[in-house]
Amino acid sequence: MHFLWASIRKELKRRFNDPWALFMWLAIPATFGLLMSTVMGGGGPRIRALLLVSDLDDSFISQTLPAAFSGGQLADMVEVREIGEIEGKALMEEGGASAHLVIPEGFGDDYLNRRPVDISLSVNPAQRISPRLVRDVLESFLDLGNYLHLVLGDELKAITALDDADDLLSEVTALISADISRKITKVGPFLFPPKIEIVDRTPVPEGRPVSDLLLMFPGVLIMAVFFAGNGMASNYWTEREKGTLGRWLVSPNHMGIFWAGQFVSAMLLLGLVALPILIGGFFYVGIPFEMLIPSLLWLMLAGPLLFAFLMLVQVSAATSNSADVIATLLMFPLLMVGGSFFPTEAMPEWLAPVADFTPNGRILEPLKQYFIGTFGASGLLEALAPVLAATIVLIVLAWLVVRRRLTN
């Protein structure tokens, strides 16, 4: 145990004796992230969801539903297209849209009279984020609608009673809107103190708005983890060529201690490299800081999968040079396919699922979903088990390869 600790300390101390390498692991992905975010900010590729709406009701109430997507950032991300029900279905079947919302006849009426409201939303399973986004927005919008109904039922009825005369409508709407807001401020706190607050908010989805930056950010983190993991895995050849691995083998210690030391120090170093990027990114992207610790732990516990994968590459290669070449040749395509250079959401449909088969994609995707809000920290925990199992398998394989190669 004492020697395991000494081995971990040794790895850390050696890294700190070469702070530049440590810094580069961190600096390259961070720079890349910043560059990409600048490029994207300047009108680069964006995620766009195409929401088809077949409004069979065509009432005032039904028309407010698509309007849920017209505000703020959502307007940039979701394009709403009115379409007939049949055409919409066809287009969905072709995979030409993210989601199709069908508002049935009588929807407005049902809503106003508080009868069960039923709308149908079909989503495109080949796309990941966009349909989710649509559903989330709609759900929260409908929730909002329920509160609205409780407080403002009369005004809503008044609006629907109006004729379609456009000018008049907008004028009256403005008036009534003013009335609504007055009413909320006045009555709200007394009627439904906790709920009015929700009514008062602009109708955006719960959770974070899914921006390009948010989608890019996990990729940058994983890139840093990949680089750092590679740096640490290539330590195998340093140990071999500098003869220290040989010294290790002639010492009376179990090789398990060597591998445990490698694993734990990799874990700590990955955390060390990830932390500054996490903190910087959380500020920059605007992720709440209560997500910092789970994210860091995820990178430290799941990140060693990349280290273990690269370690297996290193120990299987014939020389340190070929190890480096193979590692580099593997790393860049993997980073690309695994969603580090651009998120899976921006990939062609056929390519996106491939990310799941890459070790880095396996670490990136759950973290991204966590950032987006698909699941909480417990979701990360669930995703961790198979990653850890794979890590252990890879390390044991590397160990066996080394044993076979070095003592014959």
Partner: protein, 310 residues
């Protein structure tokens, strides 16, 4: 104590060690003397458990190095021929780390590290990273790493290669000190002066086989009292052989080729003029003459017909 019995080791097709046996004892230095490629390092690697013997056995302090590796390894300290140190880890850290590898800790570890640093003359630069050291300093650190844990058995594989004479003297003293403390030292070298100076017992190894073994005295006896005369130049071997035999002196031709003549001969200094005259009479051209007292070099010459230092 190290006992090596009928040790064989092959690298694929190449049989590098062909049945080597010897015993190295507590409190003495056992030398393994041989030219490049003789198989010295391979033997060392088999003893310390880095390589698995192809055949034969190695026991270290009574423990089989294959079957009871952990127990056997515990008493070993190894100074490999190739440097085995972390270059990005200070000398002090290196020593402390390898000490910890053998279970040293706390105050004991600290005092051992300080002691070894002083003995290898690195105390003033202990905090520096070895990558900034000269080759000789790295060697000294490599040496220190092998004995920081006070092993009962020390395997030294050509520890003085590339070390300046002063440091070499220092390392010799360290080895002798360890021996006097009761350590069993196995020392490989291709410098016969080192072997003569340091070793209590010796084995001369060539092409993976021990060709002579015993104490220094035993080996000297094998060379006999003959001195060595060594001539280089251009010779006609048949004519030269006839001329030497015609001298009717007590001599033995060890090597005779178109470029070299080596003779074992008693009272060489007195006989040299006659030898030179006889060789010259064959119209040979003599470019260099060397005369030496009986030593391991001459034994090696005698046994193998070639020089130790190729």
């Amino acid at each position: 104590m190290i006992e090596v019995k009928d040790l064989q080791k092959s690298y694929g097709e190449l049989l590098a060690v062909k049945g080597v046996s010897f015993t190295a004892r507590k409190g003495s230095v056992f030398g393994l003397l041989g030219p490049n490629g003789a198989g010295k390092s391979t033997v060392i690697s088999c003893i310390c458990g880095l390589l698995k013997p192809t055949a034969g056995t190695v026991t270290v302090n009574g423990f089989d190095i294959v079957g009871e590796a952990k127990k056997a390894k515990r008493s070993l300290g190894v100074v490999p021929q190739e440097l085995a140190i972390y270059e990005d880890f200070s000398a002090r850290d290196n020593l402390a780390y390898w000490g910890a590898a053998y279970g040293l800790k706390g105050r004991e570890l600290k005092s051992r590290v300080a002691y070894v640093l002083e003995r290898i003359g690195l105390q003033d630069r202990a905090g520096e990273l070895p990558k900034n050291y000269s080759g000789g300093l790295k060697r000294r650190l490599n040496f220190g790493c092998g004995l920081v844990h006070e092993p009962e058995i020390l395997l030294l594989d050509e520890p003085t290669v590339g070390v300046d004479p002063q440091s070499r003297e220092r390392l010799f003293n360290l080895v002798k000190e360890e021996r006097d403390k009761g350590t069993c030292v196995l020392y490989t070298t291709h410098y016969m002066e080192e072997a003569e100076n340091l070793c209590d017992e010796l084995a001369i190894i060539d092409h993976g086989k021990i060709i002579a073994a015993g104490t220094l005295k035993d080996l000297r006896a094998q060379v006999g009292e003959s001195d060595i005369i060594q001539l280089s130049g251009t010779f006609d071997p048949i004519a030269v052989e006839a001329a030497i035999l015609g001298l009717a002196i007590d001599s033995e031709i060890l090597v005779l080729s178109a470029g070299t003549l080596v003779l074992a001969i008693e009272e060489a200094a007195a006989q040299l003029p006659a030898v030179l005259q006889a060789v010259s009479s064959t119209e040979a051209e003599i470019r260099e003459t060397r005369l030496s007292e009986p030593n391991l070099e001459s034994l090696f010459l005698k046994l193998t017909g070639s020089e130790l230092r190729a």
